[in-house]
Subunit: 207 residues, 2 copies
């Protein structure tokens, strides 16, 4: 009974800390982020934060792990049975949804890669490499069958990643240019339609 209550306190605190840490690491960078600031935003004493995570690096690792899990869950799947058109539509939509749902996670991941993936485990890289290889094979199969235009599958995957993530990672720039303070549901649908349309046409799957 008592043990269970302690667990929920812990779970709640951990959740608050991770949410605060995500924002802090994005805006200040790893070194610039302070435990004090994370604690303030989580509305907990600094000592409690260090009680739960022991040190700053552990907090960052937890944030990163959370981000990778989200990437994994939200990535959508590309399966041969769908055929190229449906598969690409699903994939683009899944990536966009993920980007707009949690732009912070996308940013954390982007900064980690840009800075040289110093905190990323080898298995994360290996996993991604295998994922791309596997999905590229499916695209190649569709190309060989004449179901879609002959475009390099690996670069196609990169193009979908870059275009969809861009709206999360560079939201500041994009919103400034669009003259808005935040994305409306309207914007999201318009962007989804634009990207789906453009990419399908690029793959020779439309008009």
């Amino acid at each position: 009974m008592q043990k269970k209550q302690h667990k929920t306190i812990r779970a709640k605190s951990v959740e608050k800390i991770l949410a605060a840490a995500q924002g802090e690491f994005v805006s200040q960078g790893y070194k610039g982020a302070t435990v004090q600031s994370i604690a303030d935003q989580a509305q907990l004493p600094k000592a409690n934060v260090l009680y739960y995570f022991k040190n700053k690096e552990n907090i960052y690792h937890a944030v990163l792990e959370q981000t990778l899990n989200m990437w994994d869950d939200g990535i959508g799947d590309i399966v041969p049975e769908d055929g190229p058109k449906l598969a690409i539509e699903k994939f683009v939509r899944a990536k966009i949804t993920m980007s707009f749902k949690n732009p912070q996670a996308s940013k954390i991941y982007a900064m980690e890669i840009i800075q040289g993936a110093q905190h990323l485990q080898d298995f994360a890289r290996t996993y991604q490499r295998q994922w791309v290889t596997e999905k590229a094979k499916i695209f190649q199969h569709w190309i060989n069958n004449g179901e879609m235009q002959c475009v390099d599958p690996v670069n196609l995957i990169f193009l979908i990643w870059s275009t969809t993530q861009h709206y999360a990672d560079f939201d500041n720039q994009i919103l400034t240019i669009m003259g808005n303070s935040h994305y409306e549901q309207n914007d999201i649908e318009h962007i989804t339609a634009f990207l789906t349309d453009f990419i399908l046409r690029g793959c020779g799957l439309k008009q």
Copy 2:
């Protein structure tokens, strides 16, 4: 005579410091970068670095300014006379060239935007907004004339930015997936061909 020599010493030192600082700010972030490390990489005593720039923030501002100037020079131009096909080809090629020539600059800029453009002056944002508005008008004109597919011009510009910069900013990820340690001339040409091809087809300007 003496004054001129002092100038060249200064110019050389400043150049070395900025080159070193660019790498340091990318890999360590603004806060994580240390003046000592910048000095070491520039092969100058720390005190000299602070003699030339007074403080760390000034170094960062100089790096940022250098980056913005490069962006401005290398951005290529989109002019009505070229017509959509040539204009897009030129623009994509210019952006890719810039990305592969100085990926560090692209990364610095990307991190600055991702983190909320805290160090960026207002004029930089205004300038970009005007640039996009102006170029979007040219695209719109071509669309109205039936010279290209009806695609949203602003999002088209975002798509070209994101896809071309991606190879510089995420080079770590991409090279890991491709199984290389660095880009070969071959890779660059292949990527250029892929992107030009795909984007032209997306705009209804090919096949």
